[in-house]
Amino acid sequence: MKRTMLLILFLVPALVFAGETVKVKVQKTSLFEQPNFFSRTVATLQFGDQLEMEEAVKDWAKVKFGPQKGYVHQSALTSTRVDMKTMLFSSSSSTGASQDEVALAGKGFTPEVEKNYGKTHPEMNYALVDEIEHYSVDPNSLRSFIQRGGLKVSEAQR
């Protein structure tokens, strides 16, 4: 009986289904024309944006965003389904997988918690952390860096 139960649970796929609504779980990402980091950006997506899954293309998801279609890397997406495997068998605090990340925002450790932590720990220089995070690499310069260096990450259909 235990085996049957485990089998049933593991048959529940962790990946997203075609037609399923998925959400953007990162602050910002691109809806690309092709499954490629340096493809043309069709639209800029924000945390919580809802997309309709069409199909998985290796590490990428072909999605619809309103009237627009394109590709988003799957690491930027969260499923709205609950992944029972993660829920039941994760033994530590670290396991990620398909929880609804967007629904979890605003719970636990939030900007408000950080703000209160900063007040009680003035030695923490969050301005410096912000400075590091605000430094960004221009995608066109990065593409040029990769190409001129004889590298090839832009051929992204791994």
Partner: protein, 296 residues
């Protein structure tokens, strides 16, 4: 037993404690469960759901910011535009070749102004490398090896594994599963304490104790994969580990106190690195490294 299992399995697929409560109510009505069994199962279902919730990506981000802020109380930031840009170009390149190219706040690379040989991966994607470590690497490929290893720790969320299970369970069970609301002063004070404890757990692992053997080997494997995907010469992963091992004979502290098992890692990496060999770097890659390296 089968009936009880069925009663439990249905709500499990729905995935919420409320559904469990519905099912146990049905179970009581149908005579499968006593009221006492129902209450026990309801409590267990709620507890399992709460305790099993992993750290969310936004929480990972805020923990990572706390860890970065803590590291910056110990080390100064090296503000050299050319060096910062170069480290970010190489770092973002290898991050794109990783299994987790996107995190909530993205990958950011910064240089610490110290001769100590070290590198740190904060949860969520802020990665520090020291000037001491930069002086160890001889090529862009070796720098890519160092940064890939740190990206590997981020991709596998190794930092978060340092948070004590008891602490995280307390976060989730006492406060975090409520719907979004304004916390009372006491709840907020408790959350701030738990946040500080979580940040300290990760900081101690990164800076004082180091990751476990399995985590280091896992990050190495991912790093070699990243290098191969990006077109860096995987053999240079071993060359930088070799140099670190040689350096460890004359130096102490920093990475040598948190990464004592370099010989084993070198041995484990040799095979995969040979398979990730690439032709010599083009002139452009060699020149830009040399041009930047004079500034670190």
């Amino acid at each position: 037993m089968k009936k009880i299992l069925l009663v439990l399995l249905v709500p499990m697929f729905v995935g919420c404690a409320t559904a469990t409560q519905v099912a146990t109510t049905v179970g009581v009505s149908a005579g499968y469960l006593t009221e006492g069994q129902k209450q026990a199962l309801d409590k267990t279902a709620v507890k399992v759901e709460k305790a099993a919730r992993p750290v969310s990506e936004t929480e990972e981000y805020y923990i990572g910011r706390g860890v970065a802020a803590t590291i910056l109380t110990k080390y100064s930031l090296y503000r050299n535009q050319m060096v910062t840009a170069y480290v970010n170009y190489v770092g973002n390149t290898v991050a794109m070749g990783s299994p987790r190219p996107y995190t909530y706040g993205g990958y950011h690379f910064a240089v610490l102004d110290t001769d100590e040989i070290n590198a740190f991966a904060c949860p969520g994607g802020t990665i520090f490398v020291t000037r001491g470590m930069l002086k160890v690497v001889r090529t862009e490929d070796e720098l890519a090896a160092v940064l890939s290893h740190e990206v590997g720790h981020v991709a596998q969320k190794h930092g978060l594994q340092a948070i004590s299970t008891a602490r995280w369970t307390e976060v989730v069970t006492t406060l975090a599963t409520e719907t979004a609301k304004a916390y009372t002063a006491a709840e907020m004070a408790s959350l701030v304490d738990l946040f500080q404890g979580s940040v300290d757990d990760v900081f101690k692992t990164l800076v004082v104790n180091g990751y476990g053997r399995e985590q280091e080997l896992e990050a190495d494997g991912l790093a070699i994969g990243c290098m191969k995907t990006c077109g860096y010469d995987g053999r240079q992963f071993v060359s930088v580990l070799d140099r670190l091992e040689q350096t460890s004979k004359q130096a102490s502290g920093g990475i040598f106190s948190t990464h004592p098992d370099l010989a084993e890692r070198i041995q484990a990496a040799k095979g995969p690195c040979a398979a990730a060999a690439r032709p010599p770097a083009p002139e452009e890659r060699v020149v830009r490294f040399k041009k930047t390296a004079v500034s670190w």
